[in-house]
Amino acid sequence: MVDLLQKPQIICHTQKSLDYAIHDVKWIPCSAKFIAVGGKSNGAGIVEIYALTGEGVEKRGEFCKKEHFKCATFDASSLRNRHLATGDFAGRLQVWDLEDNLVPIYKTTEHKAVINAIDGVSGAMSGCGAPEIVTGSRDGSVMVWDIRQKDTPVAKFLATEGTTGRDCWAVAFGNTYNNEERVVAAGYDNGDIKIFDLNTMKVRWSKCVKNGVVGLQFDRKNIPMNKLVATTLESKIHCFDVKTYHPKKGISVCNRKSTQFDNLDGQTLAPKPGDIYDDRRFRNSVPLEICYDGLINYPIRRVEKDADEIPYGVAGELTMLQNTVVSEQPVTSFDWCADKMGLSVCSSYDQSIRVLITTKLKYH
């Protein structure tokens, strides 16, 4: 039950208009700064660094490169170097030192088309395993990289031979609770969700959710995998309880569909480390954006045993915490600040970035 008085509020703290299309925003770990990546109208890619000050945001630096940057992550770099990994429209994965950005520290050109999604693991956030980066591309491949190894990926997941690969829209690392275990979840444009086990190199689980998967996220990367949240086109959220797998019943799931919006164009998701997810939905004709916080209420018993004493998972339910329209145009990216609960930044199609504050999250 969400107490009325404890209902969180989403408040726009600062807004800043920029002169390029912003594709992704990310907080720099352990600082009050964030980066915005995107592309200018002349085709150049741009990375800008902003700092949060008492009054608003202040630009601290920028650099331009040849191609539009599509996605970025800090999750594979340590706190002491804080290197930024980016994926661009030409399919290049590059790792940058923000202070010395003339040439990338690491570069690959294995992907043939735009890198839609990127995720990192074992950087500042979790202490075990090798630091790796996963990329999902339009060419249908998902590749895992270790920046200590040049040119070739450490793992590769391609479409089966003879078929054209589906456009990969979302990737996420999870299950990294010791040095060996690690999985990659990938979501495709036809609604397929696959969990690849990097330890055994097997497809651990796959499911089709009928609509294109635009966002995938484990609740935490560095625990035995627990919950996987997928957001799809047509405004649906699927939350899978991946903790328990039953040979027949499979994985339990709870979904939620927004009823207010029917003609959705795209949607992305970014969870706070933990149980609260944000997703943004937008429609094509009348651009409209709402911020949605879903909270997963655990059922009293998460694991039940069937007649044969084999445990199966019991999904909880999703509760909407708050929705707010923060911009007239759709939101393209969103990131929670790991260092400060409730602080987040988002970018939208009106070429502006907004720093948002969500209050009272600690009660949920």
Partner: protein, 332 residues
């Protein structure tokens, strides 16, 4: 423009400036009217304003500081706005500690920047590329077509059923065996951070993880996380949280230890006193428990947990007291 400057001089009123800003200085006539409307002492005007929306605008302009900084006006405007429109969005204090957080995190950021290290180091070796194993397909055997009579003649339903049952059994056994297998131990050490910032960061992340486990009811996992957090950097919060986890796990001595550690860092931490009281109660050291609970109540009179605890423990203490007294009376 000249007229405006003259008027400005004549009135020399702060509110005048605000009004000028509000109406965008575009319509000369409207402008004069507004001046006459606001020809009162500015504080007076704010205090007698009855329109919530107008008050909001004035307050916003004052806060923006575009017309100069007038602390007394801001104060008056805020007070009036609180009376007129208590739910106004300008009154919402969004994140009062944001600035403090920015200074604090910037200090850590500075430390990380000065001690920058470009090396990518990891204890784990680079993954050796392997080929993805094929997806197991369920019905790989060929189906017998309905007109293939010779094949159907050979088909024995009983053996097929037996086969299926065996396969099912095997699958079941596999799952049960998997459950029995012990969990691999986590092989990470959390106490080798060269910078303070890294230690604090790791400590906070582990604490948050612990909080989630705690909320979900996985106390053993929560304990592990809090212990990791404490080994990175002990602070009041993670010690307090571990104490309550120990209480849940019925390890009262250890809870007591953590509470005492908190109290050495922060002498009058109410939470620590309450939890110490609870632990002492369970260890049947009622008098000490009562002292802790009463101290907590005194510090925070609205603390329900502490009040209940105090009451419970007081009864216990009284029971003991009456018992001893009885013995004394016996002599008569």
């Amino acid at each position: 423009m000249m007229g405006m400057a003259e008027n400005c001089k004549k009135l020399n009123s702060d509110v005048y400036k605000i009004v000028a800003h509000m109406f965008g200085r575009k319509d000369q006539l409207f402008y004069r009217n507004t001046i006459s409307r606001y020809r009162i002492s500015e504080i007076d005007y704010i205090q007698h304003c009855k329109d919530g929306k107008e008050m909001e605008k004035i307050y916003h302009v004052l806060l923006s500081g575009e017309e100069g900084v007038y602390p007394h006006l801001i104060e008056a405007a805020e007070e009036r706005l609180r009376q007129l429109k208590p739910k106004s969005k300008w009154l919402r204090k969004t994140c009062p500690d944001l600035e403090g957080w920015v200074t604090n995190i910037s200090r850590h950021n500075k430390e990380l920047e000065t001690r920058k290290n470009d090396e990518t180091r990891s204890d784990t070796a680079v993954r050796i590329p392997k080929k993805l194993e094929d997806v197991p397909v369920r019905n790989r055997e060929k189906r017998i077509s309905s007109i293939n009579y010779s094949a159907w003649d050979k088909y024995d339903p009983d053996t097929e059923i037996l086969k299926m049952e065996l396969a099912e059994e095997k699958e079941k056994m596999g799952v049960i065996e998997k459950q029995k297998r012990p969990k691999p131990k986590k092989s990470v050490s959390f106490n080798k951070y060269p910078t303070e910032a890294e230690a604090v960061y790791a400590s906070n992340r582990e604490k948050e993880k612990g909080n989630e486990f705690f909320k979900a009811g996985d106390y053993d996992e929560a304990l592990q996380c809090y212990t990791n957090s404490i080994s990175s950097k002990p602070c009041v919060n993670n010690l307090n949280n571990r104490a309550v986890t120990y209480l849940k796990l019925k390890q009262y001595e250890l809870a007591l230890e953590d509470c005492d550690r908190v109290l050495t860092i922060e002498r009058d931490n109410v939470k620590a006193y309450t939890r110490k009281g609870e632990a002492l109660e369970k260890l049947e050291r009622y008098q000490e428990a009562l002292d802790c609970a009463e101290f907590a109540v005194q510090k925070d009179p609205n603390n329900g947990v502490a009040q209940e605890l105090a009451e419970r423990v007081r009864k216990r203490c009284e029971n003991k007291l009456t018992n001893t007294r009885m013995k004394i009376i016996e002599i008569e």
